[in-house]
Symmetry: C2
Amino acid sequence: MTKRLTRNDIKQLDRLYRMQLMNTLPGIKNASLIGTQDQEGQSNLAIFNSVVHIGANPPYLGFILRPLTVNRQTYQNLKATGAFTINMVTRNMVQQAHQTSAKYKPGESEFAATGLSEWQSDNGLPAPYVAESPVRIGLTFEEEQHIKANDTWLIIGAVQEVFFPEDVVLDTGQVQLEKLETVGVAGLDGYYGLEFLERLAYARP
Amino acid sequence: MTKRLTRNDIKQLDRLYRMQLMNTLPGIKNASLIGTQDQEGQSNLAIFNSVVHIGANPPYLGFILRPLTVNRQTYQNLKATGAFTINMVTRNMVQQAHQTSAKYKPGESEFAATGLSEWQSDNGLPAPYVAESPVRIGLTFEEEQHIKANDTWLIIGAVQEVFFPEDVVLDTGQVQLEKLETVGVAGLDGYYGLEFLERLAYARP
């Protein structure tokens, strides 16, 4: 049975029900861990489901940040140091990755709390990578856009380096996500594995 | 074997290889069809993999649009009419959905070309839905943000109505995507089914 909800119906929903519904309706998103550190080198790690491709040449990625009305360590850190990392979540990391969404006190690192391992690249980027993650992307802060509709932010990073297992990339450049066992997330709490279906040719009329 | 590419290495890659690599490295994205029409009622349908949740209350969604240096019918239409729809792609629609990425001539509707069925809601929103899609979201244009880094755009829509099968939504609001058989896409051409893994409780330190 098809249900229809108008904007006004959505407004009337229970707060938590609305949050889950509106977060899952647009479908699957990638589960990514964003790593940052403050100017004293204290690391932070947080799970995000809003990483989006912005461009390939030059390479840029973006993500959506909720209003800055409360302290957002990821944002404070990437503005202070100018750097952050994006790390793919795989099946065997789901529990630890999800646990980074807990509200730890400032000074408590999510790496220590979850058991994920901090790894620094030798390129001098002041942001920690997740050692367990097979795909690690290092970025510098490039641009921020304030979304007036609801006071959220689009943060854009310039990709400075990428790490990935060479043997999962096809000759044509595609990463075989199923071989990496990366996961998607629906809403805030539902984790999904990926089953490869097919690769389709460039479409022509 | 872990491969490392720097920003400069990425710049040196073959153009198509780089496009595929940089599009698949950030992981899975949802496959969505965006429906619009021009002021004469001529419909347009295009596949996007960049739909992102912006807010639940009030409900907003966004998507990334490439530079407007060529004619982008989706953009022209949603600016002219103020409306667009987002429709989930399911397993049995993958071929047709992918085919909408072909460059049809103005005046040729992707609905007719792919065999997907146009459906209009009775709310007067001047944008076509995809009848085959189990989740259909109607939006009005709300805001656009110009991304200076590479001349792309973030388009924000205000959700005006949603349609979904009532029996796939949990009492707590989550849509069970696996029951809808919605698909994800990696890069531009790799389609994935979703395998439900687990739902995790709200994380506390």
